[in-house]
C-alpha cells in the first residue's frame, strides 16, 4: 500500500478512529453529550476527507477496495444519513434511561461497514462490510432491551445470519468455479465459464437471495415489519436507509459489472422479485395500523421500484438509482425522525396510526413536516420523491421494461391511499386529550428534520446541480 492509498482510505479511517475514540472516552467517563459530539465530529471529519480522497483519484486499494467517485459519493450519503440518525438517537435516548453511549459506537461501525460495502471490489470486503453492518444491527435493534426489542433482535439475527450463509455459499460456488473473488476479474471471465456456467449462475442466484434478504425484497421480506416495529425509531431509520443504501450500492456495482442481462434466468428472477415487491409491499401496507409496519412495507415497495432502474440498461440506470436512493434516504430518514421526536405515549413510541389523529392542530410544524415526507414517498411534485419516481420510470420506459413500469404505476397508485390516510388522520380534529406533549421541541431533532426537509425540497424543485454531481462522480465507468 502506498501513501496515496492511505489518503484514499482517509474517510474510512476517520470513522473507525472515531469509534475507537468513543470506546476510550467511555472508559474514562460516561457522558451522553460528549459521545454524541465525538460521533458527529467523526462523521463530519470523514465527510471532510471525501474531497481529499477524491483528489487521490479513483484507485484500487489492494484488491479489496476500490475508492472511486461512486464509492465516495455513496460514502457521503451514508455519512449524511448516519449524522441524522445520531441526532435523532440523541433526542430519543435522552428521554429514556439506561446506558446510551454504546449505541453511537455501534452506529459508527455499522456506517463503516456500509461504506466498505459501497467501496468493495472483492468478495472478502463485501462479506466483511456486510457483517459489520449486520453485527452492529443485532445489538442496535435490541438496544433498549425491552421484550419487543429483544424479540426483534433475535428475529433479525436468525434471518440475517441465514441470509449471510446463502450469500457465503453462493460466493463460494462462484469462487470454486472461477478461481477469483475480484469483481473485475469475474466480469472479465463472464464470457468464458466453460461448462460451469450453471454453477456460477447458481452461485450468483444464491448471492442475489442473500442480498435480497438484506434489502427486504419480497419474498425475503418477512423480517422487515417485525424488525421495523421492534427496533427503536432511530435504529429503524438506520435499517431503512443506511444499511439498504450500502447493500444496494454494492449490488449495483457487482451485478452491473458481472451483468444481469446475459443471464436470462437471473433477469427473470429479479423481475419477479421486483414486481412482487412493488405489489405485495404496497398491498400489505394498506392493511397496517402501525406506522412503523406501514413504513416497513412501503420501503419494501420502494426497493422494488429501485429494481426497475436496476434492471434497466444504460448510463441512465446508475444515475436514476443513485438519485432515487438519495431521495429515499432523505425521506425515510425524515419519516423515522418524526417518529423519534414524536411525543411519547405512556413511555412508548407513538406508532399507532390513531396516535397521529389531530397532530396537525397540536404540533403544526411537525405534522406539516410529516405530510411533506409522506408526499415525497407518494411522489407528489416539489418533493424529491416526484423527481425520483420520474427518473425510475424514465429508465424503465427507456429500456422498454413494460411489465415493471406498469407494476410501478399500479403500485404507486395503491400507495397513495395509505400515505394519504395518515395525512388525513393528522388533520382530523383530535378526539382525545392527545399524547403527552414534551416540554420543548428538541433542538437536535428539529435540526435534523429541517435538513431532511430541505433536501426533499431541494431535490424536488431544482435537482439539476445534484444530478450533475451524480453524473460527474457516481458513474461506474
Amino acid at each position: 500500500m502506498s501513501g496515496q492509498d492511505f489518503v484514499s482510505l482517509l474517510p474510512l479511517t476517520v470513522m473507525a478512529s472515531a469509534a475507537v475514540l468513543i470506546m476510550l472516552a467511555v472508559s474514562v467517563r460516561r457522558s451522553h453529550l460528549f459521545v454524541l459530539l465525538i460521533t458527529l465530529a467523526g462523521l463530519a471529519g470523514a465527510a471532510a476527507m471525501l474531497p481529499v480522497a477524491a483528489q487521490a483519484g479513483p484507485r484500487n486499494v489492494t484488491s479489496l477496495l476500490v475508492i472511486d467517485g461512486y464509492a465516495l459519493f455513496y460514502t457521503g450519503l451514508i455519512l449524511a444519513a448516519t449524522f441524522g440518525v445520531a441526532l435523532f438517537s440523541f433526542v430519543y435516548l435522552r428521554r429514556r434511561e439506561g446506558q446510551q453511549e454504546e449505541l453511537y459506537l455501534l452506529l459508527l461501525l455499522a456506517a463503516l461497514g456500509a461504506a466498505v460495502m459501497a467501496s468493495s471490489s472483492h468478495f472478502a470486503s463485501l462479506f466483511l462490510g456486510l457483517e459489520l453492518v449486520s453485527s452492529s444491527l443485532f445489538v442496535l435493534i435490541a438496544y433498549p432491551r425491552g421484550r419487543v426489542n429483544i424479540e426483534a433482535g433475535v428475529k433479525y439475527l436468525i434471518l440475517a445470519s441465514v441470509s449471510t450463509t446463502f450469500l457465503l455459499f453462493g460466493m463460494a460456488l462462484v469462487y470454486a468455479q472461477t478461481g477469483t473473488m475480484e469483481f473485475a476479474r469475474l466480469a472479465a471471465l463472464s464470457g468464458s465459464w466453460d461448462g460451469g456456467g450453471a454453477l456460477v449462475a447458481t452461485g450468483l442466484g444464491l448471492m442475489a437471495v442473500g442480498l435480497g434478504f438484506k434489502l427486504a425484497l419480497v419474498p425475503f421480506h418477512m423480517w422487515a415489519p417485525d424488525v421495523y416495529q421492534g427496533a427503536p425509531a432511530p435504529v429503524t431509520a438506520f435499517v431503512a436507509t443506511v444499511s439498504k443504501v450500502g447493500v444496494f450500492a454494492l449490488a449495483l456495482r457487482f451485478f452491473g459489472q458481472v451483468g444481469i442481462r446475459p443471464h436470462a434466468h437471473l433477469f427473470l428472477l429479479f423481475t419477479i422479485v421486483a414486481v412482487a415487491s412493488m405489489l405485495a409491499g404496497n398491498l400489505l401496507a394498506l392493511l397496517q395500523d402501525n406506522v412503523k409496519r406501514m413504513l416497513a412495507y412501503s420501503s419494501i415497495a420502494h426497493l422494488g421500484y429501485l429494481l426497475v432502474a436496476f434492471l434497466a440498461d444504460g448510463p441512465l440506470a446508475v444515475t436514476a438509482v443513485t438519485f432515487y436512493l438519495s431521495a429515499y434516504l432523505a425521506t425515510m430518514l425524515g419519516a423515522f425522525g418524526v417518529l423519534a421526536v414524536m411525543p411519547l405515549r405512556g413511555g412508548a413510541e407513538a406508532e399507532a396510526v390513531h396516535d397521529y389523529r389531530g397532530l396537525f392542530w397540536r404540533r403544526p410544524w411537525l405534522a406539516a413536516a410529516f405530510a411533506v415526507i409522506l408526499f415525497s414517498l407518494a411522489g407528489i411534485p416539489m418533493t424529491a420523491g416526484f423527481i425520483g419516481k420520474f427518473y425510475l420510470l424514465d429508465a424503465g420506459t427507456g429500456s422498454s421494461l413494460w411489465l415493471l413500469v406498469f407494476s410501478m404505476v399500479a403500485g404507486s397508485g395503491i400507495s397513495i391511499y395509505y400515505y394519504l390516510r395518515l395525512v388525513v388522520m393528522m388533520y382530523m380534529r383530535p378526539r382525545e386529550a392527545g399524547l403527552r406533549e414534551s416540554a420543548s421541541f428538541p433542538l437536535a431533532g428539529s435540526l435534523a428534520l429541517s435538513a431532511a426537509l430541505g433536501v426533499i425540497f431541494w431535490l424536488g424543485v431544482y435537482p439539476a446541480p445534484f444530478i450533475d454531481m451524480i453524473e460527474k462522480t457516481a458513474n461506474l465507468k
Binding site: 453485527s135 443485532f138 433475535v154 449471510t164 450463509t165 469462487y175
Partner: protein, 103 residues
Amino acid sequence: MMAAVPANYGLLLAAALFILGLAGVLVRRNVIFILLSIEIMVNASGLAFVVGGSRWRQPDGQLMFIFILAMAAVEVSLGLALVLQLYHHLKSLDIDRASSMRG
C-alpha cells in the same frame, strides 16, 4: 496425507452439510438449536471456500475461512447474549412465542 479428490466431491459435501443446516433452521423451534444449525451452514460455506482454494491452489479460500471464523465468533457471542435476554423476558426459548408483534 494428501488426497487428490475431484473438487466436485468437496463441494458436494459442503452442499450436503449446508442443506442439513437449513433443514435444522426450518424445523427447530428452540433458539439454541437454530443457532447451532446456522453454525452448520456457516461452516459448510467455509468448507466450500476451502475446497475452491484447494482446487485453484490459492490461499484465498483459506483466508475467507478465517474471516468467516471471525464472523462466526461475533455472531455466536451476540446470538447467545440475545438468547439469554430472550429467556429473561419470556422464560422460554421457543421462537414461536417471541411474537408479541403482529405479523
